[in-house]
Symmetry: D2
């Protein structure tokens, strides 16, 4: 954003900011419901609350449980989408749309109406298509390795890994996702066998990362596709913008409009209680608290982001 | 947006910019279909193309048919929403939601599923609810006068008025909107008689404004609710941000995701071929060309905005 | 039905039968909910219960409140359909289908999906289309007179008339039906003005008939279109069969399958608590009790018909 | 059906009847489309046409290709439903409804809306639930054996068997059915593993029977559950009536209303081109011709049944 008059603004103390935001959101610890559909997620302590702000200068400011890894769940789709976008380019949009999905009770009828082409890559059916496209002519294991390598490189942390308990839990409880995947296959929108595609998706969702790792990994999306620390060109500027646009319009299932309305930042929530948000030109922020609202967005996490924007004016709509 | 490094950017020549963008989009003049559902709109010359950029310093830069008034149609909802928001505040959200609507074939079933509460104020059913709330305890005529006064003041142009031919055309061809309004009434979500509410909506949609007037009128939404020229506090900063958020997630019917994806600015399109977009911190831009894409967004207009962002980087996602 | 072996069956005492059936159903008097959406219906005594069986020999056997007129509501559609069918013949099916409608929450989306062509004539949208076709080039008042004349002739009772309180109640509370009618108009499926068509429908629904009158009036549908007493050929045999088929597949909104399953006779229920059923080759039966089940079928009335079939084996599926 | 005056009717020559009906329908041989979704079905000669009428006296009257076995596909559900009904009784209705399904594009949204409970047993999702209930605590192989034994006994023909090519074809092309089955499992409406249930369904659908065998096997449904030849009480009279009711309201997917309207007999069509219809009190008729209409009902087969009813008046609505 050019030419804004910034001269009158005092510099922000980022550490004080994240401390204050953690404090703001603390009253909401334990509110909402921990995801019950996966036994492995249901056991997490609902009072956890962490925040990390990765700035463009390489510093990561943290507060609370910011170094405790949690299950990324569908936040992972943002990174898989970056990778897949790099591989297949605009051909991805032959397989998945980019419009908000509307109410969740429409998910299947929309998929049917639109002949097996999911509305966008950030709903479950779309994420499954993205996994299929990432596999391409490789194997499922190679695709998973590529995702892990990407996340380790982006966060600068080789310790990032998959929680095998969660993978098993996902697969056992995965009837609805199996139903979606076979439906996509019925419409000819999967090129790999259903169980291969699901095995990538289940493992991708089961990757554990801390707020610190996640904020650091997402930094390139706040800087037009370029990692501001390593100067790596992670994705094209146009693609970075488009991923942000998708996060803003569709990053939180049927809560996306409300999130844009209250917070005004591109974000992606996961049912493990994490949210990744990008602040274009400034940095990336990750919050984590396991209690979810009705649309499976972290309740205390969304409050923390709301307070962050109130304290800073960092909405994209200012 | 704070702290962005802007020092390396050369100053932009806004007049050259709008000229170039007009040129970029000229190849698309006449593409798409002029709205056929209203005889009064169907007669417009499809080759019209105009653009106006209102900057924070009070200058408005124009090119092409930027001084020719056209039918605002649902762009008007942005201003009615501002007004209504000021009157009833957050109580508005008891009557209308703020989530993207999903595919158009779901419009009615969603309205039924959600018990007569439209998904957001920028789809037809939601805009009808906004009109009803604006009337409140006044008369329909008073509500229309209030809208006209607001637009004349915001654009600094007393000549803005309603096209009575279009009003008649809207009312005659208004079966679908009548159906929606009676449906809202059946769910108890209208406080005024259906024909009163529709009379406000039909007249509001039939207001004629030029690109120049429209860009000027929308300027407050790019400056956190304050008109940067008159310093009038048109709406609260939080409400300005929220209207921008709604424009970004829901401003173009079933093309909203694509618009965010390609252009990355809050915008609202009207079936008269106009689009209003806000560039937070910089200005407001209005484009007009009557040919529409399948989702009733101006085809050449959207191209013009896409080129504007390509040339400037003025996406909110950078 | 030919060649059935009937020689071993003792003759049935019809008066004893209707007395016994009334007794069977008496425990269900007052069960269910009286239609609350119309003030004029809501005032009816919920304990009313009547039954009338019109036999092919001209006798009508009654029990309980069989001589008290009640609001026919959508039972009237059966007769309007007969009349309209006679006027326009098979061309009717260009305007309305003949498939069951499925779940009620789909009513509007189906209407949209099928481009304003209702699924069948026995759901509200379809009945409105039938009224429009009956009007044809006549006036609304003439169409209503034609319906009244038909019912008076078929029942042999000149006293049958419209309850004007119910008409006013219908019109005041008619938002949902207005919504449907404007929706049909939006798709070009009404040839007369919406309020004209609704005025026929509201009046038709507000006709009052007793069980005795209703059973007598429906007799021609049990005898292949010919009134067995007067020998009048009321409608073609093929049309009589088809009206029965529509009653069986679609006569009770989302309870049609259950009604066929439990009772096995063509029937049509009205929200006033009446049900008309035909027993092909034997007669017509009308029951009335105001308490409705969730799908707006008379609860005690359906029990009475179930018991009637249990006691006689008069299911069409035996 | 009691007391009908049958004395004036001449006796019907059944052999002449089926010959005439075959002749009536011959012009429609090859019309419609042979099911293309299964390679094994797509190879069938589209000009085949057969008819068999099994009468209550034990005679089966045939014409055309009535002794050539064809793939029953979902006609088989009628028999599996009889068997399952006998095992689990009314508890079946906790797992599946009995209302017509409405338009096919609603299939999935209805299944979601009604929390994984299919609308009726004769649509695919419902038939899968019936298979699951038939397995119960047995194995899939035992359930298939039970179905085969039942069909062999009912038709008095031990040669009836499964076409293994069709089973393989079904399983390979079974993505949509897998999707449905996993969806049912997600809602907790399957007690056995998805692939076990599907293996029963795929094999059941792949059973080959001729018109002669099929008409004979269905005879008990025309005689209130009792085989008129062997006097075996195959199912309770109330269940026989209910299966007929389901056939009438839901036996032909989205063509059920039209079938009732034109033919007026309980029937079930299969995508292999067969139709089984029951004529209560008289007999059972099976027709076969592979060309299907848009709703996957045999086109020439439906014409044959329509002519049969025209020639005899054997509609249940007379």
């Amino acid at each position: 954003m050019l030419e804004k008059n910034i001269k009158d603004q005092p510099p922000i103390d980022y550490q004080a900011l994240v401390d204050a935001v953690l404090d703001d959101a603390s009253n909401y610890r334990g509110h909402g419901d921990v995801a019950a559909y996966l036994p492995a997620l249901a056991q997490v302590n609902p009072n956890k609350l962490g925040i990390a702000l990765a700035a463009g200068d390489g510093n990561v400011y943290v507060a609370g449980d910011a170094d405790e890894p949690f299950s990324m769940q569908s936040i992972s789709t943002i990174f898989t989408l970056s990778l897949t976008f790099s591989h297949v380019g605009g051909a991805l949009w032959n397989h998945v749309g980019r419009e908000p999905a509307g109410a969740p009770f429409n998910a299947l009828v929309q998929l049917e109406e639109e002949k097996g082409k999911p509305r966008n890559p950030l709903i479950n059916s779309g994420a499954i298509v993205v996994c299929d496209q990432l596999i391409g002519r490789d194997t499922a294991d190679e695709a998973v390795d590529e995702i892990l390598d990407f996340l380790r490189e982006r966060s600068g942390d080789e310790s990032i890994d998959i929680d095998q308990n969660v993978v098993m839990s996902e697969s056992t409880a995965g009837s609805l996702n199996r139903s979606l995947a076979h439906f996509l296959a019925a419409w000819g929108n999967l090129t790999n066998p259903v169980e291969d595609v699901l095995s990538v998706w289940f493992r991708q969702c089961a990757i554990r990362m801390s707020c610190r790792q996640l904020a650091r990994a997402g930094l390139y999306l706040a800087f037009d596709g370029m990692d501001p620390i390593t100067k790596a060109e992670v994705c094209l500027p146009s693609r970075s913008r488009r991923i942000n646009a998708l996060m803003l319009t569709s990053g939180h299932y049927d809560n996306s409009g409300d999130f844009a309305f209250r917070i005004g930042l591109p974000g992606k929530s996961g049912s493990g209680g994490g949210i990744l948000a990008t602040i274009p030109g400034i940095g990336a922020v990750a919050v984590w608290s396991p209690g979810l609202n009705a649309a499976r967005t972290s309740l205390a996490g969304a409050v923390a982001l709301e307070k962050l924007v109130e304290r800073t004016g960092w909405s994209v709509f200012v």
